[in-house]
Symmetry: C2
DNA sequence: TTATAATGATACATTAGTTGTGTCATTTGT
DNA sequence: ACAAATGACACAACTAATGTATCATTATAA
């Protein structure tokens, strides 16, 4: 399963790199060199981070990206929401109707309990807490 | 995200139905009627459950399926393994190499900790524990 | 002031996994 | 013999993830 998709993962790595270079702009060219991610894909990702207020961007020569807020105010859940949508441990198979089996089967209950647990744990993760010192 | 895919979900529902009708064979025709799943898809699923020793199958008229072992010996993890492969909260993006960022970033550590937690919880779930009485 | 290096916007392409279908063979009870 | 069931297995459609390409715009430095 995928708790985290590749774009979220790339985003985290890029952000981590930016955190480690705070105080200056970091360009995509530089990040591609360091992180070994495909350039056009990374561009798209960084653009989305800009649109969503995670990064500030600067055009033109010597341009690039900087964090838009402090690392302890950027949550993993923010990133997951941008690239993967609202966190849900297991989308309901039955969009409209409730599962016809729900009255005999506890699966949904169990899944919701797991979801709550994971959500609690994951909610604490920020860029700051991810940085190794 | 998908902790559980649709085939696993259908499998659970079918098995739950079989549990509720223990002591006799249950045919696919009957299950389709009750569970409102697509018939060819359910056939494939049940066949896999047979091959993997979860169900015993009986051919011919009045044939169908029965549990191959007790409901408290059939684990959700068994089913997930059959339809989704070995449980992993988040496959490593980097098949061969380790993540080049691992020395600066704690993401993998965090994910592994979440995985352990979920695995512990999910390991306790069996067909028996899913049945509402 | 012009070349260059950067991002903005956006459409398109590829791939893999999920979700399903269809068909012919075999078995078994009546 | 017939009908109702599963066995085996190939194929099809759909979707989401992953990745590419292109033209426009902006800003700096020579």
């Amino acid at each position: 399963m995928k708790l985290i998709t590749r774009d979220t993962d790339y985003a985290i790595r890029a952000l981590n790199y930016i955190v480690c270079n705070e105080g200056r702009t970091v360009s995509i060219t530089e990040m591609v060199r360091e992180l070994k991610t495909p350039k056009p894909f990374l561009r798209k990702i960084l653009q989305l981070l800009g649109i969503n207020g995670i990064l500030k961007s600067y055009k033109g020569k010597n341009g690039g990206f900087m964090l838009a807020r402090e690392p302890d105010k950027i949550f993993l859940l923010d990133l997951m929401k941008i690239f993967q949508g609202q966190f849900k441990i297991s989308e309901c198979i039955f969009k409209k109707d409730t599962c016809p089996n729900q009255q005999y089967c506890l699966l949904r209950t169990e899944l919701e309990s797991i979801e709550k647990m994971v959500l609690e744990k994951i909610s604490a993760i920020t860029l700051k807490s991810l940085k190794k010192n």
